[in-house]
Symmetry: C2
Subunit: 416 residues, 2 copies
């Protein structure tokens, strides 16, 4: 079980988390709980480090910031004991969660759960500080943004857990953003691959890295709401009840939709280089400098020109990186010759995602047709095995997402 900062934001919420844990213990499970710092605490600590020194040693930053999770685990262990559940806290260095030495953004390398497993057999819940580990130099490390989800998945993998339940402020993963499309349905199951495509495309329920890790170690992930009544019985008394959305191997999903969900991302910008001299290494001369300037390039399309001597290159960046991208390209003109540099802000990316696409033809064609019927112009197309993304004018996002959601049969009939 993993609870984020909002779920442990104050003493009452910590008690609520304890009640969730008790329900699972009462159902006969051995439970490890990973928690984040109380909401606001990490920001407070980060603020202190900024006030003390503008340039700070990442190792000392980790010492300060990891105190937030240390406080949470102690408090949750106490709250569990208070309702009669045996529990003890575990810090990154106690488990131990061995990580790389990249402080502030460390990667988990190995987890040694032996000491913790011994406690399970004594019926004790393990309350584990997320977001932290210990380096080979015996210093505290933190995993960087969203690291607690990753901690939870890595620990679930090390413990060979039956499931890793991520408690959040939403009750599951939807076929698209329910604030935009009221007919959006909560998915019972979704494959790792689909979740990865949707997470990186804007359905920000889980950190991408945690889903990748879950896929690599085949950890079954469940997203569910920490605001549900903790003592409500699960939907099915017989076998496993999925309350939220289960993210799992596609083999476990009996009936797959061709398209599982529609994702979107606003604040995209398009950059086009016209009549670039077409020679080997041209892509590197464009995207090398951009990578060095830490500009994140997403979609890339290259078309040969009619004469075969020049080419047009189009790519997308997030809108707030557009100016930086243009400055880099203008500064790199010695290596790079082109006739024109065109930029278009206020774009949006719409993606249809589904593992069923692999075995179905005409899925992309249907998307283009739906958008054409609504008079929506497609600027860039990019495809992968299980998704099709298009870049359109940001004004048409809602219209496009709703039309596609309906066209692929995702509307909830009850809600619709």
């Amino acid at each position: 079980m993993k609870f984020g900062g909002t779920s442990v934001g104050d003493v009452d919420r910590i008690r609520n988390v304890a009640a969730h844990v008790k329900r699972e213990v009462d159902a006969g499970h051995q439970v490890a709980v990973v928690v984040s710092a109380m909401s606001g605490e990490t920001n407070r600590l980060v603020g202190l480090t900024r006030d003390v020194a503008r340039l700070h040693d990442a190792r000392e930053y980790d010492v300060v910031v990891s105190a937030g999770e240390q406080i949470s685990v102690g408090l949750l262990a106490m709250a569990l004991q208070d309702i009669g559940v045996a529990a003890r806290s575990w810090l990154g260095w106690q488990m131990s969660v061995k990580t790389s030495d990249v402080h502030g953004a460390a990667r988990i390398e190995m987890i040694e759960p032996d000491a913790m497993e011994a406690q399970f057999s004594e019926g004790r819940v393990a309350v584990i500080a997320g977001f932290q580990g210990v380096s080979s130099a015996n210093r505290i490390t933190t995993l960087g943004r969203g690291g607690s989800d990753t901690s939870a998945v890595a620990i679930a993998a090390a413990l060979k857990a039956d499931r890793c339940d991520i408690y959040t402020d939403v009750d599951g993963v939807y076929t698209t953003d329910p604030r935009m499309v009221p007919a959006a349905k909560k998915m019972d199951r979704v494959s790792y691959e689909e979740m990865l495509e949707m997470a990186s495309l804007g359905a920000k329920v889980l950190q991408t890295r945690s889903v990748e890790l879950a896929m690599a170690h085949n950890v079954r992930l469940q997203v569910r709401s920490s605001f549900d009544a903790p003592d409500a019985p699960d939907a099915s008394a017989n076998g496993e009840a999925i309350v939220g959305t289960l993210i799992c191997d596609e083999d476990e999903i009996m009936e797959t939709e061709i398209v599982s969900g529609i994702a979107y991302a606003r604040n995209e910008a398009k950059v086009t280089l016209r009549e670039v001299a077409d020679r080997p290494g041209i892509a590197a001369s464009i995207f090398g400098p951009l990578a060095e300037a830490a500009v994140n390039v997403d979609m890339i399309v290259q078309n040969m020109s009619a004469d075969g001597k020049t080419t047009d290159v189009t790519f997308t960046v997030s809108q707030d990186e557009l100016e930086r991208a243009l400055a880099v390209l203008k500064g790199a003109t010695a290596d790079l010759t082109f006739a024109d540099l065109q930029a278009a802000p206020d774009m949006a990316k719409i993606s249809i995602v589904g593992v069923g696409m692999r075995s179905h033809a005409g899925v992309a064609q249907k998307m283009f047709q739906v958008l054409a019927e609504k008079g929506i112009n497609i600027h860039v197309i990019s495809t992968s095995e299980i998704k099709v993304s298009v870049l359109i004018d940001a004004d048409y996002v809602e219209l496009a997402v709703r039309a596609l959601h309906a066209a692929y049969g995702l509307d909830d009939e009850l809600a619709g």
Copy 2:
């Protein structure tokens, strides 16, 4: 160097501490700094543990509360780096400070400073979390109230430090309370034994335990103010300059006063048992039940009666434990027979302290004479090798302390 919670209470004060450390580093010293949690932080964390559960697991309490020092050390290490002083933080488990398993009030058993010493040779300041250690079960322990002073002394002993400077909100140890006697002088040097007698008698500059530990390991302790300008040059450029008060072995004190200081404690109460049957074990039958009830008994006097069959026993307790003491004695009358139980609140204890007493006769006599001249009645007398304590009515505290301070030649001639 050791800095308490007030000295690291906010970011500006942490910077001030860093400047104090830099001065010592610039003077060519290898420096270890022990710090407490930012003032208010420990109380905040203790409050959270109380809110979560009334009865809490001391092991989890230690996990939560020790986060306070963890935050301080990270911030101070950053502040030092920011002014060009190489530094790194050390937590109890990293050093490691091995303690007993008595969570919340653990005792230091062993310190392994090897890893830290290696860093000194690289010119790096060690910033050490006070108040915390690690148990044999690899759990975080805390040392209990005032534990940071004890940490500092234990670490100074393990490092074989030349000196352990305790920075506080006073600039040294005075011959008596300067708020009561304006002519009180700051002592340059005072012996461990004298300091122990004064600390336990109300001159609350240092924790008794830390002075005991310093004496046992011959750690030279200096008490000085953290509010002094950190970049002021020390008084003597040649050799060691004592800025505050040095607490050291009496061999190091060339010219000892016969009486070094006058201590006092208000809020004392006197209890007298009249005509107690005088038989072996009578003291145990009185003080055994009091100890069991956690009543702290201070002075004890027993006088044989004229007939040799009964005895009068008088002892003192702190005023807020008086009622409890009386209840215990009344409840214990089965084992204990006495004619009368008398109690007197509103007493005060005055003590003259000095290692010079050992070799000088008539020191106590002078005390009695001075008090008699002022018409002050002495209720109880208790003596040790280096101190004489008397119990008087609380109303006369100021008069007694001032008269004794002058009589033993302690008044500052400039101030006086």
